[in-house]
Structures are given as C-alpha cells and as structure tokens.
C-alpha cells in the first residue's frame, strides 16, 4: 500500500483536479480519500454515488437535566461563550447547542451533576463509488463544528480498510497548514505540492513546503496555471529550488482543462495541447513512486496520442 497526498496551501490551486487525474491513472487499485472535510468536493470531481454512510461523533455534547437542576446559575456564570440561557422564575437553565464550544466548564462546575453529556453528531462519513470504478471516502462536518483533524484521521482509516495490500491511496488534503493538513500529510509516502503560479499561490505553497520539510516527508511539486505570467512561473520555480523540492511538471492554464471538469472528465482524458503537460508531470510522479519501491504501481501511463 502506498499513500500519496496532494496539498497546496492555497485553496483553489488545483489539488482536487490533480488528485482526480492521479486517481484516474491509478485505477482500479486506488482509493480516493477526500480529507478536505470542511468543504469536500472530490465526490463532485469523480461523480460519486454514496453506498454507505455513518455518523461521526467528535466528542461529548452537553445538556442540562431540568428534572434535577436547582437553578443555582453556576453553569451560566462559568460559561465563557454565553451559551447558557435561563427562562422563567425560578430560572430554568438550558444550553444553546449552536453556541456551545463543548469546553465542559459547566459540567465541571455544576455541584449536583445536572449537566450531562451525550454523543453529539458532528458530521457524517461516506463511502461512495465513482464513475472511474474506484471507491472514494469522504465526509461532511456539521456547520460550526471544528473537529476536522480527528475526522481526517477517520477518513484515512476507512480508506485504508477498503484498500488492498497493493492499492494506492490518494489523499486530497484541505488548504492551509493547520491541524487537518498535518493529519492529512502525516504518515504519507509522498506529498505532491500543487503550486498555483500566482503571488498568494507561491507564498502559501512555500509555507506548506516548510511544514512538509519539517516532517521529513518525500515531496514533489507541480506548478499549476502556468503560462499566464512568465514572471510568476519563474518565481514558483525559484521557490521550489530554494526549498529543495523537485518539479514534476507544469500544467498550463488552458481552457480544455476547465471544460474537461465541466463535462465531468478528469485531466487524464483531455485531448488537447494540455495533455502533453499532464502526461509528462504524471510520468515524473510515477517515476518517483517506482523509486519508493514497495511494489505498488499507480498505473501504466497511456501512450500519448500523436
């Protein structure tokens, strides 16, 4: 089993598009793990139909048992988020779940244990099949929930359980460099950094690169949306060189790539001038995967069309 993570720092840099192209190349022995759990769109890119779903419990929720509450108000005084409201006289206290940060201060403070815990659903985990014939594991958080590091771990564990011994797991990471990204990168055999050839794209990719280097992960980069501004392309290459990250290739900013997605295809099937760039970058990535040498193969890359 080999795990490849696609990350970028900046959102909208092309992570999911490149991850989907890799998945198309790696089928049928591939499982797609969409770890962008705050805004998952791998299922859209791959045309998924959900086959299994299960609730995701982040941690305990809190509520007040009105049968035993004496109305002392210590819970309200202990809440830093003004999530506890009272009604009536004598007051009856209740926790507004949308405002509750689940810190547990009221639970600790209540002298008669009238604050009780319950299993709060924070999201849902899905296993779906895609039109590429591969499985995708994805998830959705309930708005306002912030437990994405743990949910990323659950998505990856489920993908590992589905994947066979010689399968490739493609991890589509969220943007940023925080908890859910670290949970996406950790333990991966290869990280593909997607650098959008723009000022913010380069800066965010550089911050991500520093994180990856600090974790000692094997890394290769793709510059996306190249050719719009030669100066930006050069800056992206210079940044990667300074960070010591090899470049697999550059994807042009080409209308055919956009229309491929609009018609539900991956970049692997693009039949245009852009195909050469896509195939050449994916071939470089394949070479690196081969050098990891655990016997897994992403796939044979089709011969280029003349």
């Amino acid at each position: 089993m080999i795990t490849i993570c696609v990350a970028s720092g900046k959102g909208g840099a092309g992570k999911t598009s490149i991850a989907a192209a890799l998945a198309a190349m790696a089928r049928p022995t591939c499982v797609f793990a969409d770890c962008d759990v705050d805004a998952a769109n791998g299922a859209i890119a791959l045309g998924a139909a959900t086959t299994a779903r299960e609730p995701y419990f982040a941690g305990p929720g809190f509520m007040i048992n009105s049968e035993i509450c004496t109305g002392c108000g210590l819970c309200e005084a202990s809440c830093r988020f003004a999530a506890i409201r009272s009604e009536g006289d004598p007051p009856r206290f209740m926790i507004v779940s949308e405002l509750c940060e689940r810190c547990g201060a009221c639970y600790e403070r209540c002298p008669i244990k009238a604050v009780v815990t319950y299993e709060k659903t924070a999201g849902e985990l899905f296993v779906s099949t895609t039109r590429l014939g591969i499985a995708i594991v994805h998830a959705e958080l309930v708005p306002g929930e912030d437990t994405s590091g743990k949910l990323v771990r659950k998505v990856r564990e489920r993908a590992q359980a589905i994947a066979g011994e010689h399968a490739t797991i493609i991890v589509d990471a969220p943007p940023g460099i925080g908890c859910p990204v670290i949970a996406s990168i950790s333990g991966c055999d290869l990280i593909i950094v997607v650098v959008e050839a723009s000022a913010s794209g380069i800066r965010d990719a550089e911050r991500l690169a520093k994180l990856i280097v600090s974790m000692g992960r094997r890394t290769i980069a793709i510059i996306n949306k190249a050719g719009l501004n030669p100066d930006m392309d050069a800056r992206a290459r210079d940044m990667l060189k300074a960070m010591g990250i090899p470049l697999a290739g550059e994807m042009p900013f080409h209308p055919s790539l956009r229309s491929a997605e609009e018609s539900g295809e991956t970049w692997m099937t693009v039949d245009s001038v852009a195909r050469h760039s896509v195939a050449s970058a994916l071939r470089a990535i394949q070479g690196l995967i081969d050098s990891i040498g655990d016997g897994s193969r992403v796939a044979a890359i089709e011969e280029e069309k003349p």
Partner: protein, 102 residues
C-alpha cells in the same frame, strides 16, 4: 533513559506520532518494557501536543519515530525530550534492539 516508540498494533513502529494508538516505553536503566495506551489518539485536535505532554509526565527522555508534526516537535523540545527518527515499517523488537546495542 526512557525511550518512547509509537505503535498501533504493538508490533511495529507507527508511521505517525500524536495519533498512534499506543506508546511502547523502553527503559535502558532496568531494561523494562511496557505498552501504554495513548489516550489522546482520538483527540479532536491537539493530538501531537497532548502526546508530547503525556510522554513528558512519564519521564521519557527521547522519542523514536518516523515523523513528528511541528507543534508536537516544539512541545517535545520544551520538555527536553529528544527526537530520533527512523524509517517506517520497522518492528518494535528491531527498534529496541537498536537502542539496546548502543
């Protein structure tokens, strides 16, 4: 000195640090060996820093692990715990034999 090695299955060194299910603790003083559950493995967030703090309270002097996240590394450093890296997929027995052979 006490060494901590993350492990999910109790047989091989885990690829990850903070969300490993257990820590194997090997003490070179008396050659004792124990597997302790990492209660923070399922944390919503802060798994790495939590694991580092836990190992600090256990008096661990060094962790032996394929990778450590940036915040966990900072916490380990502040606690005076060394970080030694090793490759992935290595058995606990081999890793501990490596420590013992020093």
């Amino acid at each position: 000195m006490k060494y901590a090695l993350p492990t999910d299955d109790g047989k091989t060194v885990s690829k990850v640090f903070g969300r490993a299910k257990n820590f194997a603790i090997y003490d070179t003083e008396d050659s004792s060996y124990a597997i302790l559950e990492n209660e923070g493995a399922d944390s919503e967030h802060g798994a790495g820093t939590g694991a580092a703090a836990f190992l600090a309270t256990m008096g661990v002097g060094s962790v032996v692990v394929p990778e450590v996240g940036p915040k966990a590394a900072e916490t380990l450093e502040q606690a005076g715990i060394g970080i030694e890296s090793l490759g992935t997929g290595i058995s606990l027995d081999d890793a501990i034999a490596g420590i013992r052979a020093r």
